[in-house]
């Protein structure tokens, strides 16, 4: 069963038909063509699909589209227009965090949500916010460093 769905994504209204149980991840990628949000595991284990719903980092691979109607969805394509997101992106490039980059959309979304809620995170805040995001290239050392730089406004 498809149903008509309207979402607010990155401040824009998007209307389309989709099965109500379809995860937001696949709506973004396969219906709306917004491929910045990544598929990694499908079971909320890796964080590659992280987006913001009402400012909170959530795993879009297990979040059905019917659950997010009337909520504000922000994706990697738009996170640079938020103050925390812009800081994180800048710090990411200055610390040269990224390797293959596939997980980094999710990493940046988790980090931006962390900084928006906790402007000066300590190591345990960073662990708690970021432990759900796997990076197979092993960029964790630089992720930690970049979050601290972004928080301190050093970037």
């Amino acid at each position: 069963m498809h149903m008509a769905i309207t979402l607010t994504i990155n401040g824009e209204t998007k209307s389309f038909d989709a099965p109500p149980d379809m995860p937001l991840l696949w709506v973004l990628r396969d219906i709306l063509g917004m491929t910045g949000t990544k598929f990694g595991c499908g079971i909320a284990q890796c964080g590659a699909c992280t987006v913001h719903v009402d400012g909170k980092a959530v795993r879009s691979c297990v979040l059905s589209v019917s659950a997010v109607a009337n909520r504000a969805i922000t994706t990697i394509e738009h996170i640079g227009s938020t103050p925390a997101g812009a800081k994180v992106q800048k710090a990411w490039l200055e610390a040269e965090v990224v390797q293959c980059g596939y997980c980094q959309s999710g990493q940046i979304m988790s980090a931006a949500a962390l900084l928006a809620a906790t402007p000066n995170p300590d190591d345990s805040d960073i662990d708690a916010a970021m432990a759900g995001n796997i990076c197979r290239c092993g960029t964790y050392v630089r992720i930690r460093e970049a979050i601290k730089h972004a928080a301190n406004g050093q970037s």
Partner: protein, 722 residues
């Protein structure tokens, strides 16, 4: 590449979709005037002196990347090497993925067009420098002809030729047309390294800006007008076939368009991945599991242990091993490494459009030309009718040195009208990998007067090279399986190395980041620590005593000891372990500090690597690769194991095939030694270094000499001894 050419694709798409719906058939995607992934390599009107450099009249300098970008930073390193000898303007550099073309873009080490084995900079160092220098010389000749001056009186810098005496300057863009008519010089001189302006600088990577804003396009992100989406199930038992398929329930799922049944796999095609996945879950498939359904891990290990007891093919023999082993106190140990999956963050995928007379593929691969030729076979087309569009890779680690995912996607696409994107679920990706082989390495050594006098080493494991690059498999020796076993840095008078080819039953094996050195450096460096203990010596002191003629090894080892505070007191059940390795043409010493708690759980505290990799093209990339490589290796040491039961892989996703996470990551310091030697390889070195250094730290902390990976916590609980 995408950074410069794909930006508009997304804005077009989102723009056209903002107003529409038309979901069921994805008409907006079909209707969108989609751009190709990258423009073709058009050389008309450009100065195109060789396969790697194109300069247009505006000075835009497009560099064609013969090696693929999977995170290792090679697009930037290749560009730096070309730009260095070309004296290009770095701000004018744009990148293009190379097309499939073995002749133009073959890796000089492998001959085939492959990215792997930490070879990129080593293999392309000279040809890229020559390409840059030759192009520069032609631009200078063109300027000198126009000015009617001696070419030797002209200089170049940042994309310009200057004649100082007359104060004249011409940009490379202005010279592009005239340079095209010049003859490339023979034996063009290369720069003296002291004159390098780019090489040796930590320049910012060219591929990363679009990787922080969602614009970077990986293979899985390819959007082809009109495409459908598919996911597949292969027989869970290796080599098994499809028996019966009941697709009645699957076909009732909204968005499911087609069920493709092939002899060994079933795919569901739908309007999106969700429909395809739900459709696949709704299929009732009976598999003909075949004879491999009896295979389990115990049988694999029994076979390998039996094979390893046999004599092997001699890979190296110096001195007199019989006398050497008889000379002192003899000890022996065997080390075992498990099957591993690659688990690239980007699951396997390929988008394919098969037509009766052509086939087009969008994917990210480490082997462009082989993918093209294997796809042609699968499509039943001549190779020139197959186009492969390369993408950024969301990790490679050796998995994408294989064409199997593209072949499967082509076979599915042949049954589908129009283009189809085939995406593996994570479960399918892990359960149908081409696995790092199991290895069993046995070392017997004799100690006399605190020194090693005899060293007999036998490697038993699969010969990946025999399958992957048959001409390189000579006289029964797999040059990868023995890599770092025949060039142990220590001075040992009597050395004998043997290789036993032992192929596991039915389980496909392939390259995995760190390749052959992973098993050899692990066995050698773990055993050296056991010998040091037997000799009553500190592990670093013991190594130093055998390195009198190895200044580069000695220097990295000494610096690592200093940076790690080697010898300074540590709390109970905390230890430091060292690894010294000769792998990939680099000289690397690593110290890991780890703590083992009362239950045997291991906590990583610190890792230090000192790297002498010759000339460091981009030192920051080298640091990043070693940091990441260490984490990759330490992940495997702590968690990595694929086990087999009833002919199938037991792990399926990140909950049971675990990865190290940020909260478990230690502090990591990487020190790059200044060197004028030719560049070594770097991408895999950290992966090789991590596990033995960790194991030796655990040995120091607990006295337990682990001889298998992943580490067995049960052996490490308080009160246990080796």
């Amino acid at each position: 590449m995408n950074a410069h050419h794909n930006v508009s694709r997304r804005s077009l798409l989102t723009g056209s979709l903002a107003t529409g719906f038309l979901l069921a058939f994805h008409l907006p995607l079909r209707a969108a005037p989609n751009e190709p992934v990258q423009p073709p390599d058009v050389t008309d009107g450009k100065f195109a002196p060789n396969a790697f450099i194109r300069i247009d009249a505006a000075g835009a300098t497009t560099l064609v990347m013969p090696q693929v970008e999977m995170g290792q930073g090679i697009y930037t390193a290749v560009s730096m090497i070309l730009a260095e000898e070309l004296d290009a303007d770095w701000s004018q550099v744009k990148l293009l993925h190379a097309p499939a073309n073995e002749k133009l873009y073959g890796n000089p080490i492998f001959i085939i067009q492959a990215t792997g084995g930490s070879t990129s900079v080593r293999a392309f160092w000279k040809p890229l420098r020559e390409a840059g220098a030759s192009a520069r010389a032609m631009l200078v000749q063109a300027a000198a002809a126009q000015w009617q001056v001696d070419a030797a009186s002209c200089t170049t810098s940042k994309g310009q030729v200057t004649h100082k005496a007359s104060g004249r300057t011409l940009s490379y863009g202005a010279l592009a047309a005239a340079a095209s008519g010049q003859t490339p010089p023979k034996n063009v001189p290369l720069k003296d390294p002291k004159d390098f302006v780019y090489i040796g600088q930590p320049l910012k990577r060219l591929d990363t800006p679009d990787k922080v804003n969602g614009k970077a396009v990986y293979g899985i992100d390819a959007i082809v007008p009109g495409m459908k989406f598919a996911t597949l199930a292969q027989c869970p038992v290796f080599g098994g076939k499809v028996g019966k398929v009941d697709d009645r329930a699957a076909k009732k799922i909204p968005g499911v368009r087609q069920v493709v049944v092939l002899d060994d796999l079933v795919a569901v095609v739908g309007d999106h991945m969700w429909a395809a996945k739900k459709g696949l879950d709704a299929l009732e498939i009976e598999w003909n599991e075949g004879p491999n359904a009896k295979i389990n891990s115990k049988a694999v290990w029994d076979d390998l242990r039996a094979a390893s007891a046999k004599d092997g093919v001699v890979a190296k023999s110096t001195g007199d091993i019989g006398k050497g082993l008889a000379a002192g106190e003899k000890i022996e140990a065997s080390f075992e490494l498990p099957f591993l999956a690659h688990a690239t963050m980007e699951p396997l995928n390929a988008t394919v459009h098969c037509k009766p007379d052509s086939c087009e593929i969008w994917t990210g691969t480490q082997i462009m030309a082989r993918v093209q030729s294997e796809a042609a076979k699968a499509a039943g087309l001549p190779v020139e009718k197959v186009t492969v569009n390369q993408h950024l890779l969301g990790g490679g680690f050796g998995r994408k040195l294989e064409p199997d995912m593209v072949v499967a996607a082509v076979r599915i696409a042949k049954q589908v009208e129009g283009p189809v994107k085939v995406v593996w679920t994570r479960e399918e990706d892990i359960q149908h990998d081409i696995y790092r082989p199991v290895y069993r390495d046995t070392i017997a050594a004799s100690l006399s007067g605190g020194k090693i006098v005899g060293w007999k080493y036998k490697i038993a494991g699969a010969a990946v090279i025999a399958r992957w690059l048959p001409p390189a498999f000579q006289k029964g020796i797999d040059i990868d399986a023995i890599d770092s076993a025949t060039d142990v840095p220590y001075e040992i008078p009597n050395v004998h190395v043997e290789y036993v080819r032992a192929e596991p039953p039915a389980i496909p094996t392939g390259f995995w980041r760190g390749v052959g050195p992973n098993n050899n450096v692990f066995a050698v460096e773990c055993f050296i620590d056991e010998l040091a203990r037997k000799a009553g010596k500190d592990p670093i002191e013991f190594r130093r005593g055998m390195l009198a003629n190895q200044p580069r090894f000695l220097s990295v080892l000494n610096l690592a000891a200093e940076k790690a505070g080697w010898g300074q007191p540590l709390p109970a059940r905390v230890g430091r372990g060292v690894c010294l390795q000769p792998s990939f043409g680099s000289f690397i010493a690593t110290v890991v500090e780890a703590e083992v708690d009362e239950q045997g759980e291991v906590k990583l505290r610190r890792a230090i690597s000192v790297v002498d990799t010759g000339i460091a093209v981009n030192p920051d990339t080298i640091v990043a690769q070693v940091e990441g490589g260490l984490i990759f290796g330490l992940t495997a040491a702590l968690y990595g194991e694929i086990t087999i039961d009833k002919g199938r892989v037991q792990q399926s996703n990140f909950h049971d095939y675990r990865m190290l996470r940020i909260n478990q990551t230690p502090k990591i310091e990487v020190h790059v030694v200044k060197s004028g030697e030719a560049p070594g390889g770097i991408g895999e070195t950290g992966t090789t270094a991590g596990p033995p250094a960790l194991r030796n730290a655990i040995y120091a902390a607990t006295g337990v000499a682990l001889r298998r990976l992943p580490i067995d916590r049960k052996l490490l609980a308080a009160g246990k001894k080796a």
